[in-house]
């Protein structure tokens, strides 16, 4: 399932609903992940096709990050995809700030992919999902503007985040209800036990 966001002039980012799910709100630590995708042919939209959950602890440390990024690039490079963004979910429910660490990782990714996106999980929206019929994405999109700082993207204006699949949030709710998040393997889990697969290929068919 891919979400497609289109826009005339600026970049658009598409997003898979599973990503928001991968980084569950139930983990009492921050959750992070990497977004994979590609630029469209005209270069006016970026499609996010997949994601890999990275870490849930000590995200400020370089070595596991470097290993993860290299491995993920190697794997997806063969499929014609590259790292196009970074996902972050804060530890605290009401924390809407992007940690310096997240910005640094985002900066690092923009060195290789200038239109990189930074997605921040909106914990409150995620929690409100079962109650409302909100179809908008439960993440906030940040991109780097001309002043090289990360700016939040609103619903009007240049960049937009859209979900291709309208029932994306319903799928997400379903995953939450079935507690699929308990089984997700992230890179931290893999490094602790390499028989655990960070591709989670069986989990999301």
């Amino acid at each position: 399932m891919t979400c497609d966001f289109s826009r005339e002039l600026e970049k658009q980012y598409s997003c898979k609903p599973e990503e928001a799910n991968s980084f569950s709100e139930s983990r009492p630590q921050p959750s992070t992940g990497v977004l994979l995708g590609r630029s469209s042919d005209h270069g006016d939209s970026v499609e996010i096709v997949d994601s890999v959950p990275l870490f849930h602890s000590q995200i400020g440390l370089l070595p596991p990050l470097e290993i993860a990024l290299i491995m993920i690039e190697e794997f997806y490079g063969e499929k014609g995809l590259s790292i196009v963004g970074y996902f972050h979910a804060n530890e605290r429910y009401d924390d809407f700030e992007i940690a310096a660490v997240a910005k640094n990782i985002g900066d690092h990714i923009t060195q290789y992919f200038p239109q990189a996106a930074l997605l921040l999980l909106d914990n409150q929206k995620l929690e409100a999902l079962p109650n409302g019929r909100d179809r908008s994405p439960v993440v906030q999109l940040y991109i780097k503007d001309a002043s090289r700082s990360w700016k939040l993207v609103g619903s009007e204006g240049g960049n937009q985040l859209t979900i291709k699949e309208p029932s994306g949030n319903i799928v997400l709710l379903d995953y939450l209800a079935s507690e699929k998040w308990k089984d997700i393997v992230d890179f931290d889990d893999h490094l602790d036990n390499i028989s655990k697969d960070w591709l989670n290929s069986e989990l999301f068919q």
Partner: protein, 297 residues
């Protein structure tokens, strides 16, 4: 810190209870002894015991300990209604108790009433300045309110009194890392390694921080500590093996062949790579070729 066998024991009991095989009380005692945080289950199983008058009276004086344990679990899972009930029971049984006083303050915390909780803790501290639990709650409250610098301040004050509390040093180190204050984090890990030199976790974390700090000297030290981690863990520690590969490669890049330790470096790197390759072959065979290309990069 919990050992692997202890963790397995708890998990075994947990699945036993889940499958209707009984053992709730053993599970609750073990969780309490090991200070684990399994609040959903503690609440579920504890509630089932406390709600049944027969089971409750079978506990004897331990009943009150269970009330305390389940009250805390209720607060952790935001079941404040249940927490209030249990705290009330304890208040009626032990009206002047400091221990119950602490629980009341904890409840205020759980309800988000930070000022009241802070007042409660301060007054409890007046009577007992050296209560580590209260000091730690202060740190936790600061963290929960997003006041990280406050948390650091309280934690440092706590460590001035209780400098042997290794968990606190670890907590402080992790806070520093999250704020990218790597030098300070390194200091904490140095304290930890001094006090418990045979715990590989500290060597690994120290190495990670040194690598993140960067610079030739730090990279050399990082390499040393990755090596000691591998030493202490019998040679199979994935993160440490990767760490060796990363640090030797970074050192190579910085010294560009001017280094006379080059040979030793590349030997170390290839040993680690081989060890990783073997491990991946055994446990993650579908990733072996990916590992190979990763190590080359």
């Amino acid at each position: 810190m919990v050992s692997k066998t202890e963790e397995e024991q708890v998990n075994r009991l947990e699945s036993q209870v889940e499958n209707g095989g009984g053992g709730e009380w053993e599970y609750l005692c073990l969780v309490r002894k090991l200070k684990l945080r399994r609040s959903y289950n503690v609440l579920k199983y504890g509630f089932s015991i406390l709600n049944d008058p027969k089971k409750r009276s079978a506990l004897g004086p331990e009943e009150w300990t269970l009330y305390e344990q389940v009250a805390v679990a209720a607060m952790d899972t935001q079941r404040l209604d249940m927490a209030k009930d249990y705290v009330k029971v304890l208040q009626e049984k032990f009206p002047e108790s400091k221990r119950v006083g602490r629980l009341e303050a904890l409840l205020l915390e759980a309800m988000g009433l930070w000022e009241e909780a802070e007042k409660a803790y301060s007054s409890l501290l007046e009577d007992n300045e050296l209560d580590p639990v209260i000091h730690k709650r202060r740190v936790a409250m600061a963290k929960a309110q997003g006041n990280i610098s406050g948390a650091i301040e309280w934690l440092n004050k706590y460590l001035e009194i209780f400098m042997a509390d290794n968990d606190a040093w670890r907590e402080l180190a992790e806070i520093y890392v999250s704020l990218q204050m790597y030098k300070q984090a390194a200091f904490c890990y140095e304290e930890l390694i001094l006090s418990q030199p045979t715990i590989p976790l500290y060597h690994l974390a120290y190495a990670d921080v040194l690598y993140t700090l960067g610079g030739l000297e730090n990279l050399h030290m990082a390499k040393k500590y990755y090596a000691s981690t591998i030493d202490l863990t019998g040679g199979k520690h994935t993160r440490a093996l990767f760490g060796i590969c990363l640090s030797t490669s970074a050192i190579d890049q910085l010294t560009k062949g001017r280094n006379k330790d080059d040979k030793e470096n590349s030997q170390l790197a290839s040993l680690s790579a081989t060890a990783l390759g073997k491990d991946y072959k055994q446990r993650a065979p579908n990733k072996v070729s990916l590992l190979a290309s990763t190590l080359k990069a």
